[in-house]
Amino acid sequence: MTVSAITSLMEVDDLSIHYRQDRKTLKALDGVSLEWKPGEVLGLVGESGCGKSTLARTMLGLEEPVSGSVLLEGQAVTNRSTRSALRRKVQMIFQDPYQTLNPRQRVYEIVTEPLKVQGVEKKLHQGRVEKALGEVGLEPERYLDRYPHQLSGGQRQRVAIAAALVLEPEGLICDEPVSMLDASVRSQILTVLLDLQKSRDLSLIFITHDLSLAWSLCDRIAVMYLGRIVETGSAVDVIEKPQHPYTEALVTAAPVPVAGGGGRRELLKGELPDPSNIPSGCPFHPRCPKRFEPCDEIVPQLVSAGASGQSAACLLRGRPGEESADA
């Protein structure tokens, strides 16, 4: 980074997304603030429906927030020109490489498309496409003329990454990029992404429901529940010493590939409540094993808890004398 004044690649501030549904309001995001630093690998973790994909889509300007702001390098993304800058600087890849690639386009056309959209000079296309394919480990001469159906799942995901990289973005948001892939292909794709992060100083966001993946890849993570961030901090701190009972439950649920497995463990009961009918007080209280008197009334705010830089939205935290609640 040459410009030292910029401390964040992107930032969202008090972001809310509400949908109207059958005269009810569905709060997909509710007052989310988050910082994504340059070169950082940030994990967004939570169950299906917690709002992690909505947050990513909003950061890219694909959803219109009802309140709050999205900042790119300190500048609010509000009009067409800032939005266009955003698209050049931040790209996204999705979970299912079988659905994201146009089956009628060849690899060359797929990877060239973003260049056309951004009006990059035509004579530069071939070189940029070949470079991007090379970076994801696909030899251009073998793959340029293939159609998606001629590629394996892992190769398709590589093409999707190449198409995201061709504009040489500074940030890449990966929405469950490997959850549909097999074990050996999975580690290949993750290695490609982490190598790019190092070689290009690319900032990454990993959206995943799997805390063990976040553990091995992320510098920092944000745990989401029902449209809110309930805990954030360094990946090691949050996973080793979770400060929110929900994070603790996610850690417990992660599969343990050692003899005997997780043993007899207490699992979270029930499922994520209907987001159009969020429980009062702390949204997690109906499923929380540690709830107490005021949890159904007071909405907890994110406060510093645990290690430095770690914070949690739980009434058990941030009050002196009550920190011994860890099991």
Binding site: E47, S48, S152, G153, G154, D182, A183, S184, V185, R186, S187, Q188, L190, T191, L194, H209, D210, L211, S212, L213, W215, S216, L217, A235, V236, I239, E240, A249, L250, V251, T252, A253, A254, P255, V256, P257, V258, A259, G260, G261, G262, L267, L268, E271
Partner: protein
């Protein structure tokens, strides 16, 4: 027969190519066996052969014997005709199909779909409704679910309905093909706990098919790892994961992120598994194996690699894994 299911020298071929071959598997009563491997390795094909549900054009050979509780003579599935299989399937062995939760009929209520199965296989209509309630209760759903349509259920709830369907006729063996793959971690853990509880309560024997060794470690007593249509390693779960005896197993384990374990990624093995029916000559894993040598051009036998353990590797038992230099990592693309 001591085991509830015994498979001997199973071979499945398609257009003259072996998709799966030389499969020997035993399943003891009440045991859970994991069948692991990547897409195209033959795990689902093996399961479908046991159900005799392979699509047209596939040929299966080898013996498959099923000995449900209280039967005098084992049922030889391989000798059964389609009509004969109809009284075996679902009553003695049933299967939760991969992605099956999306195959519930979207315009029929859950209760109707469960009743339909019961009536079809048990041929009785009175009591079916009560059986539906029992089944839903068994898999941890409320009776109200019977009145709902599939779109009103979450993924986890639908998967529970599919498990209820598999249990509808009281089988001794249930084969679950990737039952948790589409679910997130919390639901996944809940469904695994459910299968574990059912195994204990009903004395079921379970075959769990997955590509995720983490999932298996928690639920299975024994594991068989498949690669390119063959079993490459088998043994008790805890021994296999603590001390793998095949380079492929070792690689699968290393690629698994573990909380509290080392952060970062293990070096990936290049390439992908071979196309079904088209394995490379000799050991099928040779082209991707960082430890391969001249001898690996000869096909290895599945041989003893320790007490109650088998591995198909010329170098097993491995007492110590050689340290790989950077140059040799992925040297055989």
């Amino acid at each position: 027969m001591r085991n509830v299911l015994e498979i001997r020298d199973l071979r499945v071929s398609h257009r003259g190519k072996d998709i799966v071959s030389g499969i020997d598997l035993n399943l003891a009563r009440g045991e859970s066996l994991g069948l692991a491997g990547e897409s195209g390795c033959g795990k689902t094909t093996t399961a479908l052969a046991v159900m005799k549900l392979l699509p047209e054009g596939f040929r299966q050979e080898g013996s498959i014997a099923l000995a449900p509780e209280g039967s005098d003579e084992p049922i030889r599935i391989d000798r059964r005709t389609e009509a004969g299989m109809r009284v075996v399937r679902w009553r003695h062995v049933s299967m939760v199909f991969q992605g099956a939760m999306n195959s519930l009929d979207p315009v029929k209520k859950i209760g109707f779909q469960l009743e339909e199965v019961i009536n079809l296989h048990e041929g009785r209509s009175s009591g079916a409704r009560q059986r539906v309630e029992e089944l839903l209760d068994l898999v941890g759903l409320t009776a109200a679910v019977a009145r709902r349509y599939p779109h009103q259920l979450s993924g986890g709830q639908k998967q529970r309905v599919m498990i209820a369907l598999a249990l509808a006729c009281g089988p001794s063996v249930v084969i679950a093909d990737e039952p948790t793959t589409a679910l997130d971690v919390v639901m996944q853990a809940q469904v695994l706990q459910l299968l574990e509880r059912l195994r204990e309560e009903l004395g079921l024997a379970l075959v769990l098919i997955s590509h995720d060794l983490g999932v298996m470690a928690e639920t299975c007593d024994r594991i068989a790892i498949m690669y390119a249509g063959r079993i490459v390693e088998t043994g008790p779960m805890d021994l296999v994961i603590s001390d793998p005896q095949h380079p492929y197993t070792k690689h699968l384990l290393e690629s698994l992120p573990v909380i509290g374990g080392e952060r970062g990624l293990a070096p990936p093995i290049p390439g992908g598994p071979p196309a079904p029916g088209d394995p490379p000559e000799g050991c099928a894993f040779r082209p991707r194996c960082p430890y391969s040598d001249e001898i690996c051009f000869q096909p290895p036998d599945l041989a003893e690699a320790g007490p109650d353990r088998l591995a198909a590797c010329h170098f097993s038992p491995w007492s110590k894994w050689p340290v790989l230099s950077d140059a040799s990592k992925g040297a055989n693309p």
